[in-house]
């Protein structure tokens, strides 16, 4: 599964994207965030406050309870500031 990061989430993690193999225990977006936090302090820093970072699955906004299923690409990013 491909993970992509944007804006300060990207900067904190220090990469734009990566391929990951998720353990079976990761069912939802929230599980994925918990799993990422354990991967290193850069991830813990990016996700330090619950409810700030947003997620999208295959280009569609999703909430923390959404099952990751067979998503090809999951994105994490701060609240949007376009326009």
């Amino acid at each position: 599964m491909r993970l992509v990061y944007f804006a300060w989430v990207r900067e904190r993690i220090g990469r734009t994207d990566e391929e990951v193999d998720l353990p079976a225990a990761v069912v939802t977006i929230a599980d994925l965030v918990s799993w990422l936090r354990e991967r290193g302090e850069e991830y813990a820093y990016a996700f330090e406050n619950d409810g700030i970072v947003r997620a999208a699955m295959d280009h569609v906004h999703v909430g923390p309870d959404t099952p990751v299923g067979n998503a090809r690409e999951i994105a994490f990013f701060p609240p949007m500031t376009g326009g």
């Binding site: 999208a56 906004h61 994105a75 990013f77 701060p78 609240p79 949007m80 500031t81 376009g82 326009g83």
Partner: protein, 154 residues
């Protein structure tokens, strides 16, 4: 209604986009154009840097326009959003809505901007006049409130 949605580094020409929207459509009575500009924030900023999520940005703007088109009888709609480094005074975003009557065009343009601000995957970062990189712009609570004004959301 086939909307025009473009994400580009280049500036846009709102008059040309309006002409394209109304050409051959003598049923259109009203076009509302919203243009968002880069401000200098009292002389503090040298530029705004716009990052976006390519692929999702186009898809999300299409969904936002679809929601507007289901709610108002639009004859046409155009959204152009720039990315990259944008200087104070330069345009960032253009939203055009066309309809037979003005009420629908006004409401749809207002709605599109509110939803674009809170849902389209773009992020702004400040570049300061002293040459340093400023902070990422924080999402405004008032933008979330504004999007909440519309009873039916996407």
């Amino acid at each position: 209604m086939r909307p025009t949605i473009r994400i580009q580094a280049e500036p846009f020409d709102s008059a040309r986009e309006t002409d394209a929207l109304v050409a051959g459509r003598p049923d259109i009575g009203a076009v509302v154009a919203f243009t968002g500009f880069c401000r200098d924030e009292g002389g503090r900023l040298s530029a705004l840097e716009l990052e976006h999520y390519s692929g999702m940005a186009e898809a999300e703007l299409a969904r936002i326009v679809e929601t507007a088109a289901a709610r108002w009888p639009l004859s046409g709609a155009t959204i152009i959003h720039r990315f990259g480094l944008i200087r104070p005074g330069e345009p960032i975003v253009l939203v055009l809505t066309a309809s037979c009557h003005r009420r629908e065009a006004f409401e749809a343009a207002d709605f599109l901007m509110d939803y674009l601000k809170t849902r389209a995957p773009f992020w702004k970062r400040e570049h300061l006049v002293d040459g340093t990189l400023g902070p990422w712009v924080e999402a405004a609570a008032k933008d979330e409130d504004a999007a909440g004004r519309w009873p039916i959301g996407p």
